[in-house]
Structures are given as structure tokens and as C-alpha cells.
Symmetry: none
Subunit: 253 residues, 2 copies
DNA sequence: AAATAATGATTGAAAATGATTGCTTTTCTA
DNA sequence: TAGAAAAGCAATCATTTTCAATCATTATTT
């Protein structure tokens, strides 16, 4: 069989993954004529390059949810709920404030609505930095390791960077809001960053949509009472439960 | 006669790549009647000109979406020089290295050529971060204020961020290389970052094109001997003058 | 004719490959 | 549900392919 170049195989493999969610190694050895070893190596390389995800028996498509740089406030990526929460959060920012903005799409939605003048913003979100600078807001990055999956700076580097600052307000995103577990997130590294930011803010806010309530996800960040929750709209029943534990600001009521 | 033949081969090679994603060397020797050596030289030349990408066993189409957004202003002679310098610089990076990459277009040109595996890169360049992460390289930001004009993190925040790390190699961009003034740059804030990175690297390199030699621009970074200079091509006379003060690596000679 | 540039052959080094081995994960089956 | 069988895996090794560097030769320019 005619030899097939490494790059060609890589191309073939990625093409398979455009069509299907998962492709088996067997299928790839058949399609390329290469040995199993070679295909395995290819998969390792491509995974290292972030172009696919290895699974037992083959490889899976990687969901590349890259945040578009051309985002504007009409963007359909944000639900009405997120935009409402963002608008409400932005209205809380006053002139000359120094604020922290956490990485994540919920907090990203607040940036377009910022009206206050002469503010300083610190963030661990890569896309947040770009949006802030484009808007002419003085922006600082925390530094630290840039995670591809979430486009966020994290780890000790980010915590270390935060320790230089003090905030009037901090706007955090979380994955779970739970009566007993408090605010939670799956990644301990990111939790450390959020915790540090929360500690260093005069007034911390947590932005969350309805789906986050009564959820808990592994890593504890802080107790409910340590921040004010900003949300779009939540069911009456949920509201009743949580408003005894902390303040809730509901944008659409 | 021969120069024409060279041009013809180049034309043939590029035509193959219009049809297909990848072309093997074998196919090109068959099609042109030239020896393998000659084809290899052609491929090297065409890659330097940015018209294709070499892969093991042949050459691949260069995807046109990979155009540097910040690199399209300069004359093409200059960017070729930068690419050559970038290629040379990238070849110095070894597996498992921990490197610093300074902000700026010259150092940006280095990133596409990085081959070494398992490296850690720290940078104060916003675009650099994006490129590194897209390439699957573990990337750290220094943090600090993000300057809109240069897309670089600077100030005490960036210096502070750097102080967490130690590098095998550092790749710096500078604005002036002067026998007496040493390496210089216009912005004192950026100079502080460069100085810190240089101090923290086992082996510092300075990337510069010919126009930077015998120039000096306000803020002193370090003396000439404190880094190795990587450049595309400089006049014989300039080389003679500077190679007594420090090491110079010339990419195109 | 001398200098310069292009070419092709050679060679040691580097990269890619396929087979093998011992280990881990998954699946089957009793 | 435990334990065996099967499938999948990373690591390693020998082999093959490809590569860059070098040198001698040929063609082109000065």
C-alpha cells in the first residue's frame, strides 16, 4: 500500500470526526492502512493539540465552544435571562469603582452594559479582557495558566495576581447554589480564584441563572450569605427557599 | 536557464497544493525530474516565503485563515526576515523547556514554528496567549494592565506575575540595539517587564531585525552582552561591529 | 577566467512506523 | 456480582523512511 503521510492521516481522522461524534481505532486503521500503533500515536498527538478527545476504543469530537470575539449585546448566544442579569449587575457599578469580573459567559454578558465612568476592572477571563479593552475600560488580567476549555486564567498564578488588588465589587459566576453546600463549582483551581476574589471584595455578587439553584458541584467556594445573588428569573418557590439564606436580586420579575 | 527552471518547479509545487491538501516529495521528483535534494531546497524556500508548510515526507497547503492580524502592515521583505528569525528562535526551544515570550510582533512570529513538546510558555502578549493555546502549548499570562495599543500586559502587575517563574530561555523583542546604550525600548513600564524576564532566564535571547541595530530609544533594558541576538539578516558591516559585543545568530546568511 | 549560483549525491542523524510486551479497562459469563 | 476473557492501552525496540548538512560538479554570470 502506498505510504500515507502523518499529516494526511491527521486530516483523515479529523474529517471522520466532522461526520460522527466518535470514531473507532479499527475504522481508522482500515481507512488509512496504518498500524494500530501509528493511529494511537496520531490520536495522542491530536489530543495534545486539543483537536479531539480520546476515549476508550477511539476518539471523540471535542466541543469547541470558543467565544466569538465579535460578540455584541444582541448576540443570540446569551439567553434573555443572562442578558437581564448582566444588565442588572452592570447597573450596580458606580463611577470610579474597582471591580473584579470572573470568567464565564454569565459575567461576560454584563460587560456590554457597563455605563460607569473611570472604573478599573480586573478579570481572569480571556475574552472578558478583550471586551473590556475594546470598550475603553482600564483592564487588568490576573495572570496564571490559561485553560483552553474555559478561556480562563486559573491556578496559583491567578490567585497570586489577585492578591495585589482590592475591589469595591466582585461579580462571580458559579455552577451550583445550594442551601447547605453554598456556592460551588466543579474545578478546585477555579474555586480558589473565586474564593480569593470574594475575600477581597467589599461587596461580592454571584451571577446565576435559574438552573443553578439547588445544584451542588464538588468544590465549595463560600456560604450563601457571603454574597448577593443576581439572577434573571427564578420560580417563586425557589425564591422563597433561598431568600431566607441571602439577598437575591431578580432582574425579570 | 536554471533560474527559470527553479521558478518552474516552484510553480509546479504550488500548483499541486492548489489541488490537494498534501503532496509527497516522491510525487514532486517524478513530476519535475529534479533530484530529491533540489525539491527539498525548493520546499525550504517556499516555506520561508510562507507559501506552504513542510511536513515529514512532503509539504502541505498553508491555511489562509492563519494570517497574523498584527503582522500585515510591514513590507513583505521584513516579514520574511521576521519569520526566519522566528524559525531560528523556535528551533532553540527544547522539549520540556520553560520559556518566556515577550509581547510584540517579532516574538509572535516565533510561535507557529515551535516544535518542542511538553513546554511551558509564559508571556505578557495577549495575542501570544491565544496562539499558544490554539497550538496546544501550556500557556501562562503574566497578568497586569492590558495596554490597548500594544496588546501587552505591563506595569507592576506583570512584573509581579513574572516573579513567580524561572525560565530556561527568554525571547525578548526590543526597539533599539546600540553599542553603548545596549538594548532599549521607548516605554519604561515595558522595559521593567523585559528586564525582569531577562533576569529570570537561564539564557535570554533578543529578537531583532536589521532596522533595530545602531538605534537607541530612551529606556535602557540591559547591556548587549546579557543576551544573545537572533536576527534575520544584517549587513556584513553591522555584524562586524556588533559581534564583538555579544553573540549574534543570523537566520539568513 | 574567476566568481557565483544551482544541482545531485552522500552521509549521519532524526523521525516515523509496526510489532511486541506487560498492564489496565471493559465486557462477558456463570 | 465475582472472576475470567477480551479488548484497549502505553511503553519500548528494531526497522525503515525522511531529513539537513556537506561536498563535488555543473551551469551561469561577471
Amino acid at each position: 500500500m502506498q505510504p500515507v503521510l502523518t499529516e494526511e492521516r491527521h486530516f483523515t481522522i479529523l474529517n471522520f470526526l466532522k461526520e460522527k461524534e466518535i470514531v473507532k481505532i479499527q475504522k481508522l486503521t482500515d481507512a488509512t492502512g496504518a498500524s494500530e500503533s501509528t493511529i494511537r500515536r496520531d490520536l495522542t498527538d491530536l489530543e495534545d493539540a486539543g483537536l479531539l478527545r480520546r476515549v476508550h476504543g477511539g476518539a471523540a469530537k471535542v466541543s469547541r465552544k470558543r467565544i466569538e470575539p465579535t460578540m455584541n449585546e444582541k448576540s443570540s448566544r446569551f439567553s434573555e435571562e443572562k442578558r437581564a442579569a448582566g444588565r442588572l449587575a452592570a447597573s450596580l457599578i458606580e463611577n470610579d469603582d474597582c471591580i473584579f469580573i470572573d470568567a464565564g459567559t454569565t459575567t461576560l454578558a454584563l460587560i456590554p452594559y457597563i455605563q460607569a465612568k473611570n472604573i478599573i476592572a480586573v478579570t481572569n477571563g480571556f475574552d472578558h479582557l478583550r471586551l473590556l479593552v475594546e470598550k475603553g475600560i482600564q483592564a487588568y488580567g490576573t495572570g496564571g495558566m490559561l485553560k483552553q476549555s474555559t478561556q480562563a486564567f486559573t491556578g496559583t498564578g491567578a490567585v497570586h495576581g489577585l492578591q495585589q488588588y482590592w475591589f469595591d465589587k466582585a461579580f462571580l459566576g458559579v455552577n451550583g447554589i445550594h442551601l447547605k453546600a453554598g456556592y460551588t463549582t466543579p474545578d478546585p483551581e477555579e474555586a480558589a480564584v473565586k474564593r480569593e476574589a470574594l475575600k477581597r471584595a467589599q461587596q461580592p455578587y454571584v451571577l446565576a441563572d435559574a438552573s443553578k439553584f439547588q445544584e451542588s458541584t464538588f468544590t465549595h467556594i463560600a456560604d450563601l450569605k457571603e454574597a448577593v445573588i443576581i439572577t434573571g428569573k427564578i420560580p417563586e418557590k425557589t425564591r422563597k427557599i433561598f431568600e431566607q439564606a441571602t439577598d437575591i436580586k431578580e432582574a425579570l420579575s
